[in-house]
């Protein structure tokens, strides 16, 4: 199958295809993502429950919500959203990720619509979602504004987009590239291109230009003592996340 026309850099897709089989091994190559995941999920679930007035202590709190997970990979975010009751579409431009994600969802007894497609293709087809999860993707695309505009078009008026990425400064270079890729070998070398990193101000500017209203931004902080991640209201120096709404 021909990959649809998109802003995804073809050399980036190949890199992830090579890593796809390892998605669900908590001690494998995606260990840093598995470690970060509870923190990402805490942010996502809190934002969604706040925006759509849902009670996280109830069963299936997200039922009735249509969620799109862009760059779904092995389904690390799609599965939790489905477990919380949402109707989930997981989209990935790397075809190799999809069988892994499908097999795992079936093992978990979850129904998730995994598609080999891009945000741009889905926007063109007129798909609409209550929530778009756009996590750790924007630093890999060649035209961030065109990409973010497509994600905006995928939202219903009043919908919510969560977008996370990596800041561009000396510390993020040290942590994400020297630390994670070279020293710790958490990620294969060349996973990230530092020049594609975006600062929080730049991202909020891009989101606004794309037609969204940024409403929140927080940092994801790694603590080398407890070896875990936490959400920070102040420190957005390396990994950070934003929430934006589409005007009604």
């Amino acid at each position: 199958m021909q990959a649809p026309q998109s802003t995804v850099d073809p050399s980036e897709i190949a890199k992830f295809e090579a890593m796809a089989a390892e998605w669900w091994d908590p001690n494998g190559k995606f260990k840093p993502l598995h470690m970060l995941n509870p923190c990402r999920l805490d942010y996502i679930t809190q934002q969604i429950s706040g925006e759509f007035d849902r009670d996280l202590t109830s069963r299936n709190p997200f039922s009735g919500l249509r969620v799109l997970d862009i760059g779904c990979g092995g389904g690390l975010l799609s599965e939790p959203m489905a477990r919380l009751g949402a109707t989930v579409v997981g989209a990935d431009a790397a075809e190799g990720n999809l069988p892994v994600a499908r097999i795992h969802a079936e093992q978990s007894g979850l129904e998730i619509d995994y598609r080999h497609t891009t945000a741009e293709a889905m926007a063109e087809a007129g798909e609409q979602f209550d929530v778009v999860l756009n996590m750790e993707v924007v630093e890999h695309v060649s035209d961030p504004l065109a990409y973010l505009t497509a994600t905006q078009q995928l939202l219903r008026p009043g919908g919510l987009e969560i977008c996370s990425t990596i800041n561009r400064n000396a510390k993020s270079f040290a942590m994400a590239i020297v630390g994670a890729e070279i020293v710790m070998r958490w990620l294969p070398r060349g996973t990230h291109e530092w020049s594609k990193f975006i600062t929080p101000d730049e991202l909020c500017d891009l989101l606004s230009k794309a037609g969204l209203t940024p409403v929140d931004r927080k940092g994801f902080l790694f603590n080398p003592i407890t070896w875990g991640w936490s959400i920070s209201a102040r420190d957005l120096s390396v990994n950070y996340v934003t929430a934006s709404t589409k005007p009604k």
Binding site: P26, H34, N37, P38, L41, D42, T45, L56, T57, S58, R59, E79, P80, M81, A82, R83, L84, I103, E106, Q107, S108, G109
Partner: protein, 421 residues
Amino acid sequence: MDNPERKRIVRRMKNTSDILIVGGGLNGPALALALAQTGFTVTVIDALPQTALQDEDFDGRGYALALASQRLLQQVGVWQHVGEDNAQPMLEIKVTDGHAGQGPSPFFMHFDHAEIEEGPMGYMVEDRYLRRALINALENEPNITMINQRTVVAQNVDVSGVTLTLDGGDTLRGQLLIGSDGRKSGTAQRAGIKRSGWDYGQTALVCAIEHEKPHQGIAHQFFMPPGPLAILPLPGSRSSIVWSESTATAQAIHALDNDGYIEALRPRFGDFLGDMKLAGKRFTYPLNLTIANAFIDERMALVGDAAHGMHPIAGQGLNAGLRDVGALAQVLTEASRRGEDFASLLVLQRYQQWRRFDVATLAAATDVFNRLFSNNNPVLRFGRDIGMGVVGSLPGLRRSFVREAAGLTGDLPNLLVGKAI
């Protein structure tokens, strides 16, 4: 991975409950209640009939519940069923270095709950009242199913859950299996989890006494050369005795008739409680330390004695178990609320990480304490007496011991500080 046979099996099986708990003693039901409260469905399987667990007569056994444990029991709706008259607050703890036959030495440490603002250091509750309260609480909880008088003969873990086979051949299915089946945990054995530990060569003699003089809510711990002796205040003029001796001596004492038994006990702590007599049955428990080499496995976790059977020197067994309960319930609930597969190793690792350090510290401290005090070496004895004098005279240090005794130290799960998850 793509095995059609396996997929067919996975699809066919429907869950009995989200979580299966093997072991219906104290920690299992407490955990079931904590989990049911946050929306999980739970099945508890126990080999004994429920009637055997709620003996009407006082059998002499009691628990020293640290304040933190009492708070957990309150949160999960058990404490309300104990009844105020059946819980004796522990207001003070006196620790004394004793000589057998001579009663306690003049050096002692005294801890008073008045040094902390939270309340008494804990409560003494008889076994029968705690069990009855647990059973009452279980009956009021629609998310819990009790299966009594059945034993587990096999457990099988696959990619999406656990299947338990009971005697008689029927099966139960859940996403997560929890072993709260004691220090000889079959759940751990079937998962191939090995244990480490050693025997102390000591046996605890446990009984309750009725005494002439009031105990005033004071718990006593005497450190005697053969082993520690604890006198823990029960409601009324009664106390629970936990008395450790070398196994040979303990067996000899246990073989005595009731009068002989009391005569053997009396000189060990003197006559400050006046005349005394037995107020229930007598029990013996061999003292050994047994810690599971892992607290978790694929879709499985261990709590209480199944994870760590400890020397009951300070009554810490149940308290440590309830810390497991609080930590595991919190880890599973938080994972479930953020949509994670709560039974995945990734999630269970958080529980193990939380509990293993605490358990290792407690086991080591208990062990060192016991070795330091259970001997007649005059040098150690002198050191002990000086040490007790020092701790006893420094308010800051004393306060931290009181907080430790009340179970208020360390990284506490929500339920143990009296908060919902």
